[in-house]
């Protein structure tokens, strides 16, 4: 801006010089009038003063400008400084944060480790619990088998003998045992569900058979309470489900229905509808208060808790178990009830396709394999001697040679000598001798055979079968060289034995 002013000033100056010099030039040579000189001088002076002022002004502006520049520089410096500070600060923050993060990471690692070990020990204790539970269950069941079984037998006998009181006593034992059994089943199942070890085993389910079974079980119980039980069945196709679990669910529902109904009836209906099987169990019992209807499916939440005596016994595990089991089976449960006005519980599970039938147990499969073999022993094999100290194998041979009328087993030398001595010269020759080649000691059978054939003419022409405890390549040749007719190794089977014997006998 100052430069612009100066420029403008010099422009004025030149203009002024031109304007002034013109009259001077016009009056050149006359020098008459000192007036115009005077004017010239005054104007010059004026101009000098003006110039001076302008210079002063310029100086002042320049100083101001310098001040501004230096201010600016200062500001820039300051800004740079603060930027530097911020930079440093932020670096500090970053490094501090990084340290914190590293610390956090380490802490997390430590936490993870301790959590892992906690998880491991939880798994271990869950495993131990399930082993303990399984052992307890096994023991309880074994003992309950006696309690229930013998009280049942007692009850039967007392009923037969018309000892009413004793019959009642034994029935009481049996009923208590039954409810213990029921509780045990529920506890085991609920703990298995909570430990995630409840695996569904799919089987084909015939709803009618299942209902018949339940009818047989619950009708007598209901009858004792003076209740009637109706079963109403609709056509339901065969489907696959965990039949045991389904039975357990329905057992719980029926058990509850009978337990909480003092008069009236229980009605069980099942039907199939849009790919689902539904079963509803309706009773005319005490019902469930609306307030409790939601929590009745939570474990250990039976209505009326505490020490106060209730008319109805039970641990309150039944319905929670029903719900959880159904959850695993992809099923649902609906409760409709009103206090003092009966209860209807309806369950529904998917109608899954039946599984194919050829997954039958191994015991049946093996029967099929065995039928194709049909080797028969040659006729005329009447007297056989088996020399082997392997008693189990002897039993097997005995079973296989059941049709041989005279079958003698010898398990030690004493027995053998006895047979030879007792018969003396009247010892009739054997049709075949089966001899373990390692009888009593390694190769004991081989030397025994030689001894027998040397000392007793009866054995001279008898075919000997070498029986070996193990399969050994080349052993058969060796044995034939040693004078055996044929060779057989364990494990023996009927086909192998018959074939061997058939080829040995001339």
């Amino acid at each position: 801006m100052i430069k612009r002013i100066l420029k403008r000033g010099s422009l004025f100056f030149i203009l002024f010089l031109v304007l002034v010099s013109n009259p001077l030039m016009a009056n050149h040579g006359t020098y008459e009038t000192s007036g115009s000189l005077m004017i010239f001088i005054i104007l010059s002076l004026f101009f000098i003063v003006l110039l001076f002022f302008m210079w002063v002004l310029y100086r002042r502006r320049k100083r101001k400008f310098a001040q501004l520049v230096s201010d600016l520089e200062l500001k820039i410096e300051k800004t740079e400084k603060s930027i530097e500070e911020i930079k440093q600060h932020s670096e500090e923050i970053v490094s501090r944060k990084r340290k914190m993060l590293i610390q956090d990471k380490e802490d997390l690692k430590k936490n993870l480790k301790s959590m892992q070990s906690a998880l491991d020990s939880a798994h271990e204790s869950a495993r131990r619990n399930s082993v303990l539970l399984s052992n307890i269950s096994h023991t309880l069941r074994t003992n309950l088998n006696d309690i229930l079984g013998f009280s049942y037998l007692l009850g039967n006998d007392f009923a037969k003998n018309e000892s009413t009181e004793l019959y009642e006593f034994s029935e009481n034992i049996r009923k208590s045992g039954d409810s213990l059994m029921h509780l045990l089943n529920n506890i085991i199942d609920i703990s298995r569900i909570e430990a995630n070890t409840f695996n569904l085993g799919l089987q084909n389910c015939d709803m009618y058979a299942l209902m018949d079974e339940l009818k047989g079980e619950f009708e007598p119980v209901a009858k004792q309470k003076g209740l009637q039980v109706f079963f109403q069945n609709e056509d339901v196709p065969l489907f696959s489900a965990d039949v045991e679990a389904l039975k357990h669910i329905l057992t719980n529902l029926l058990d509850n229905a009978i337990k909480y109904t003092d008069s009236g009836f229980i009605k069980v209906i099942h039907w199939a509808e849009s790919e689902r099987i539904n079963v509803s169990v309706k009773d005319t019992g005490i019902g469930i208060d609306k307030v409790y209807q939601d929590e009745i499916f939570e474990p250990f939440r039976r209505q009326s808790l505490g020490y106060s005596k209730t008319t109805y016994q039970g641990a309150g595990l039944g319905l929670p178990l029903v719900k959880q089991m159904l959850g695993l089976m992809g099923g649902t449960v609906v409760l409709e009830s009103e206090k003092a006005n009966g209860t209807t519980i309806t369950i529904s599970i998917p109608l899954s396709k039946p599984i194919s039938e050829n997954l039958s147990p191994g015991g049946l499969k093996s029967t099929v394999d065995e039928k194709k073999k049909d080797v028969q022993l040659k006729h005329g094999v009447n007297k056989v001697l088996v020399i082997d100290n392997d008693k189990l194998n002897n039993m097997l041979i005995k079973k296989m040679l059941v049709k041989v009328p005279n079958l003698i087993f010898v398990t030690n030398i004493k027995e053998l000598n006895k047979i030879i001595e007792n018969n003396g010269k009247s010892l009739e020759p054997f049709d075949i001798v089966i001899l373990n080649i390692d009888f009593m000691k390694e190769n004991g059978g081989v030397s025994l055979k030689q001894e027998l054939q040397k000392s007793n003419p009866v054995f001279k022409k008898t075919p000997f079968v070498a029986l070996s405890n193990i399969e050994d390549i080349g052993l058969d040749e060796k044995m034939i060289k040693a004078g055996f007719k044929t060779y057989i190794d364990k494990p023996i089977n009927k086909e192998k034995l018959f074939n061997t014997m058939n080829t040995s006998i001339n």
């Binding site: 399984s134 269950s137 096994h138 023991t139 309880l140 069941r141 074994t142 309950l144 088998n145 006696d146 309690i147 229930l148 079984g149 013998f150 049942y152 037998l153 045992g177 059994m181 089943n185 085991i188 298995r192 695996n199 569904l200 085993g201 965990d242 045991e244 147990p361 191994g362 015991g363 049946l364 093996s366 029967t367 394999d369 065995e370 039928k371 073999k373 189990l392 039993m395 097997l396 005995k398 079973k399 296989m400 494990p491 023996i492 089977n493 009927k494 086909e495």
Partner: protein
């Protein structure tokens, strides 16, 4: 006719708990079925080889040799013997889980009954295989 069949039904009870064995014996007796006993698996195999049985009631948890091993062994022997009619083996056990059942059937048992059982349950399990 039925009676003579029952009399001929030869049963082996393999059970280490003598009260449990006794109970099974009494139940069978009510149907005129006489039973033999073995208190562990190896004794059971000896008896199996010594005598002919139609039916074996097999406990699972036993000392020395458990019921599953015993059954597998018996099935192996039957294969060796090429028996025409394999003995019917029903597990009678206090193991009551689904995989226990599977183990039993896999080892070659024909059926599975959990303790405690009612006399009628034992009889209906037998009736699946025999006329009694």
């Amino acid at each position: 006719m039925t009676e003579s069949v029952t009399q001929r039904l030869r049963v082996l009870i393999v059970e280490d708990n003598d009260l449990n064995a006794k109970f099974a014996e009494i139940v069978l007796k009510k149907y005129n079925i006489k039973a033999d006993f073995a208190t562990n698996g190896s004794l059971a195999i000896e008896k199996f080889l010594k005598y002919d049985y139609d039916l074996i009631l097999m406990d699972i948890q036993m000392p020395l040799m458990n019921g599953i091993e015993t059954t597998a062994e018996i099935r192996k022997y039957e294969k060796q013997l090429s028996v025409e009619k394999p003995v019917v083996i029903i597990a009678v056990t206090a193991f009551a889980l689904e995989h226990d059942r599977e183990h039993c059937l896999e080892s070659g048992m024909n059926d599975y009954l959990t303790k405690p059982y009612k006399p009628a349950e034992l009889i209906s399990a037998i009736r699946k295989h025999f006329e009694i």
